[in-house]
C-alpha cells in the first residue's frame, strides 16, 4: 500500500481517501484509543476550571480582536522583533516561504537542519523542497521523528503519530536505528530517540521552528511543547528560522495568560505545557545569534476578508476538535489529505487552497457540532462548514457537469417539489409508486439504485406507509375532526 497523500492538490476526495483507512482496524483502534485518552484528560481539566466559559470567551475575544486589527499587530511585531535583532520576512504564498527559507539556509551553507514540529512547514511542503535543495531536514519532535523514520505522514495537529502504537514505534526504531534488540517499553524507546537526536542537537547549527504565538508588543515568539526537544532546537543552533502564519500574532505578552491556559487544557489535558519557550530576537552570547521570522500568508488574508469564514483564523491549533470528532475517530487524519485534519482541517484546507482543491472536505462532517462545543476560541465550525458548502455549490452551479450529478439534480428537484404543497403531495404519490418496485414483501427496502444505493449500502429503509400524515389529517378533517378519530 502506498503512503498517505498529504498534498490537498493531489489527494483523493475524502470519501475515497477514507476507504482504505476504514479497512485498517489497527489504525482505527490506535486513533480511538489515543483520542479517548486525550479527551478524558481534557474533560477533567476543563471541569476543574470554574471559569472555563469565561476563559473561552476571553480567548475568543482576543483572537477576534487580533483578526480585526491584523495589519496593525503584524507591523508592530515586525518593528519590535527587528529592534530585538530578528529579521522579519514576508511570504505571500508557500513557494515564497520555501524560497526564503532555502536562501537563508544556503547562506548558512547548511546541509542539514533540525526542526521542531511545525504543521505550517508541512502546509508549505517544506521538507521535500529542502531535500531537492540538498538540505536534509531532521525532525526532532518524537512523533515527527517516528513518522520521518517510518516514511509516514502526520495524522493529528498536536500528536502527529497518534495513529501509530508503541509496538509499531519499536519496529520503526529497531529498523532505522539498527537496534534489533530494542524493547517496546516507553523508557527504552525514548532513550533510543534521545541517543539518536542528541547527536543532531549537538552537531547541526541551523534550526527551523513554527510558532504558537507571536507577541506584537515586544516582538517575542512563543512555543509550547512537551518534550524539551523543541527547546534544544531553539537554544543550541547558531541560526534559527521561525515560520509562522500571519494569524498567530497576539497584541500583548499578558494575553498569554489566557491563551496558554486554554491551549494546554484543550490540547493535551494539562494545566500548562511542560515547556513554554519565549524569546525575543537575538541576545549576544546566548542562544542563536541569527534569528529569522518568516510570516506566511498563503491564503490567510483571503480568509480574513470573508465574514463567516474569518473565524477560522482564530484557531490556536489545540486539536480538541479532532479528538472529539466522530468522523475523525473513524478515519484518523490521513483521509483529510492535508496536515490539517479533523473539523478544523475540513474548513481550513479548502480555504488555503482558494476553494480550488479539497472541496470534498466541507462535506466530511455530520454537522454534529461537538467541535464547536470544545473549541477554546469558539470557532463555530459547523457554521463555517455550511458556508463553505454553499461556496462549493455556487461553483457547481456554473459547471456543465451539474446536469449529470444526481445530488445536484436531486436537490433542484426537491426544491421544486417543496415550492408548493400540491407538488409535494404529488411527489409523495409518485414516490410511493416508484418505491413499491423496490419494496420487499415485509415492507422494507433493501436495495436502491443510484444515490439510494449509498443509503442501502448498510441500512434498510422502511417502505412508504399506506397513508401520509397530511392525507390522514385531511381524512380526519373530512370526518369532522378529533371526535371522529
Amino acid at each position: 500500500m502506498s503512503g498517505p497523500v498529504m498534498d490537498p492538490r493531489l489527494a483523493p476526495p475524502f470519501p475515497q481517501a477514507a476507504l482504505p483507512i476504514l479497512q485498517n482496524t489497527q489504525l482505527r483502534k490506535n486513533v480511538a484509543h489515543a483520542t479517548d485518552v486525550i479527551q478524558t484528560k481534557r474533560n477533567r481539566l476543563v471541569a476543574e476550571k470554574q471559569d472555563w466559559q469565561q476563559l473561552r470567551s476571553a480567548a475568543a475575544a482576543i483572537r477576534a480582536h487580533v483578526l480585526a486589527n491584523l495589519a496593525h499587530y503584524l507591523e508592530e511585531f515586525e518593528k519590535n522583533c527587528t529592534a530585538a535583532g530578528g529579521v522579519v520576512h514576508w511570504a505571500r504564498d508557500a513557494a515564497e516561504a520555501r524560497q526564503i527559507i532555502i536562501d537563508i539556509l544556503r547562506e548558512e551553507k547548511a546541509t542539514e537542519v533540525i526542526k521542531i514540529k511545525t504543521m505550517t512547514s508541512a502546509e508549505i511542503q517544506l521538507n521535500p523542497s529542502l531535500e531537492k535543495a540538498g538540505i536534509s531536514a531532521v525532525e526532532t519532535d518524537l512523533a515527527e521523528l517516528i513518522l520521518q523514520l517510518g516514511d509516514d505522514e502526520p495524522s493529528h495537529i498536536v500528536v502527529p503519530a497518534l495513529h501509530v502504537n508503541r509496538q509499531q514505534v519499536r519496529e520503526i526504531f529497531a529498523r532505522r536505528m539498527s537496534l534489533p534488540q530494542l524493547p517496546d517499553d516507553p523508557e527504552a524507546l525514548a532513550a533510543a530517540a534521545r541517543t539518536y537526536l542528541r547527536k543532531k542537537f549537538l552537531s547541526v547549527p541551523t534550526a527551523i521552528s513554527g510558532a504558537n504565538f507571536l507577541i506584537a508588543e515586544n516582538g517575542s515568539v512563543a512555543i509550547v511543547e512537551s518534550e524539551g526537544n523543541g527547546r534544544m532546537c531553539l537554544t543550541l543552533p547558531r541560526t534559527l528560522i521561525t515560520l509562522a502564519g500571519i494569524e498567530k500574532v497576539l497584541p500583548r505578552f499578558s494575553d498569554l495568560e489566557v491563551l496558554l491556559q486554554v491551549l494546554a487544557r484543550s490540547a493535551t489535558g494539562e494545566r500548562l505545557n511542560p515547556y513554554n519557550s519565549l524569546w525575543s530576537g537575538v541576545v549576544p552570547g546566548d542562544g542563536p545569534q541569527k534569528f529569522h521570522v518568516v510570516l506566511l500568508d498563503n491564503g490567510r488574508s483571503e480568509i480574513l476578508g470573508r465574514k463567516v469564514e474569518r473565524q477560522t483564523l482564530q484557531c490556536i491549533r489545540c486539536a480538541a476538535c479532532l479528538n472529539t470528532c466522530p468522523v475523525y475517530r473513524q478515519t484518523g487524519g490521513h483521509a483529510y489529505g492535508s496536515p490539517y485534519a479533523g473539523p478544523i482541517g475540513a474548513i481550513l484546507t479548502p480555504q488555503l487552497e482558494h476553494m480550488q482543491h479539497a472541496q470534498s472536505l466541507p462535506y466530511a462532517s455530520s454537522l454534529c457540532a461537538a467541535c464547536y462545543e470544545v473549541c477554546p476560541v469558539k470557532i463555530n465550525i459547523p457554521e463555517v462548514l455550511i458556508d463553505l458548502r454553499a461556496k462549493v455549490v455556487d461553483q457547481e452551479r456554473e459547471e456543465a457537469s451539474r446536469w449529470t450529478d444526481p445530488m445536484y439534480m436531486g436537490m433542484k428537484a426537491a426544491n421544486f417539489v417543496f415550492g408548493s404543497a400540491s407538488r409535494f403531495r404529488l411527489a409523495q404519490r409518485f414516490g410511493k409508486l416508484g418505491l413499491r418496485f423496490f419494496t420487499d414483501k415485509d415492507g422494507w427496502i433493501r436495495k436502491l439504485p443510484s444515490l439510494g444505493a449509498r443509503w442501502t449500502l448498510s441500512r434498510d429503509l422502511p417502505g412508504m406507509p399506506d397513508q401520509t400524515f397530511r392525507d390522514w389529517w385531511a381524512e380526519r378533517e373530512a370526518r369532522g375532526g378529533k371526535e371522529a378519530r
Binding site: Y363, A370, Y372, A390, N415, F418, F424, W455, S458, F469
Partner: protein
C-alpha cells in the same frame, strides 16, 4: 392553548405514525391543534448541503405560513435547530426587512416537541404508559443545537412501566448527518456501527429519540443486521397509554 403542527416533510412522508402520535398526545393534553396543509419543508436539507438560495425559499415559505399562528410545534429537533440557527443568516443575506421582523416575532413561538411539553405546557407527566426497556438516543441537534438537556429525560422518567437504560457515549453522533449519510456512506456506516455497539449494550427493546432522521439511520442499521431493537419516536412513547404505540 392553540398550536399549529409543523410535521416536517420526512415525518409526513415516511413516519406518519409519529405525527398521529403527536396529535393524540397533544389533544389528550388539551391543546387545540391545527395543521396547515400548505406546509412542506423547513429547508434544512438544502441549507446543510450548500443550496442556500433554495433553503431561503423554503425558510421564507415557513415564516409566511406561520407568522400569524399562536405557536408552532415541531417533532424534530434538527428542523427546529435549522430555524433557530440558520434562518436569521439566510434572511440577513437574502431577505428583506419585513421578512426579518416577521421572523423575529415568530421565532420565540417555535417549539420542539419536548420543549413545548415541558416549557410551554409545563408538564413532565403526560399520562403515558409504556412497559418496556428503552434506550434514549440524544440527537446532536437536540443536545448541542437546542440544549434540550434534561427535558426528554424528565418526560421519560414519568412514563409508567418504562425502564430507561442509559446509553454510553450519549453525546456521540450516530453518523446520519443528512446528505452526509449518502456522500460519505462508508464513514457514516462506521459511525453507525460504533453507535449500535453502545445501543445494543443496553439490551433495550426500543431506541427512542426526538428525531426520526437519526432513527431512520439507526433503525435501518438495526434492521439490516437482523437485530431486535426497534426505533420509536419519543412522541409515540408519550402518546401510548397501553403498551406500544400502534
Amino acid at each position: 392553548m392553540r398550536a399549529s403542527l409543523f410535521i416536517t416533510c420526512y415525518n409526513d412522508t415516511l413516519f406518519p405514525q409519529t405525527g398521529r402520535a403527536v396529535v393524540r398526545l397533544l389533544e389528550r393534553l388539551g391543546v387545540d391543534l391545527d395543521f396547515l396543509p400548505a406546509q412542506t419543508c423547513c429547508g434544512q436539507m438544502h441549507a446543510n448541503t450548500g443550496f442556500r438560495g433554495e433553503a431561503y425559499s423554503q425558510a421564507k415559505r415557513f415564516v409566511q405560513l406561520y407568522r400569524d399562528t399562536e405557536c408552532v410545534v415541531i417533532p424534530s429537533s434538527s428542523c427546529v435547530a435549522m430555524i433557530r440557527d440558520q434562518y436569521a443568516g439566510l434572511f440577513e443575506e437574502l431577505g428583506n426587512e419585513g421578512l426579518r421582523s416577521q421572523f423575529a416575532a415568530l421565532l420565540p413561538r417555535v417549539f420542539e416537541l419536548s420543549e413545548f411539553l415541558t416549557d410551554k405546557l409545563g408538564v413532565d407527566d403526560v399520562g403515558a404508559h409504556f412497559p418496556h426497556r428503552v434506550a434514549y438516543h440524544a440527537s446532536c441537534h437536540g443536545l448541542r443545537g437546542l440544549h434540550l438537556g434534561e427535558r426528554p429525560f424528565r418526560l421519560l422518567s414519568r412514563v409508567r412501566g418504562l425502564k430507561l437504560i442509559p446509553v454510553a457515549n450519549l453525546d456521540r453522533c450516530c453518523g446520519f448527518g443528512g446528505t452526509f449519510s449518502v456522500k460519505n456512506a462508508e464513514v457514516s456506516t462506521a459511525m453507525l456501527d460504533a453507535k449500535l455497539v453502545d445501543l445494543l449494550a443496553t439490551d433495550a427493546e426500543y431506541c427512542t429519540a426526538l428525531d426520526n432522521s437519526c432513527l431512520m439511520h439507526v433503525g435501518g442499521g438495526l434492521h439490516r443486521r437482523n437485530l431486535n431493537m426497534k426505533p420509536i419516536h419519543l412522541a409515540e412513547i408519550l402518546a401510548s397509554t397501553e403498551g406500544p404505540a400502534g
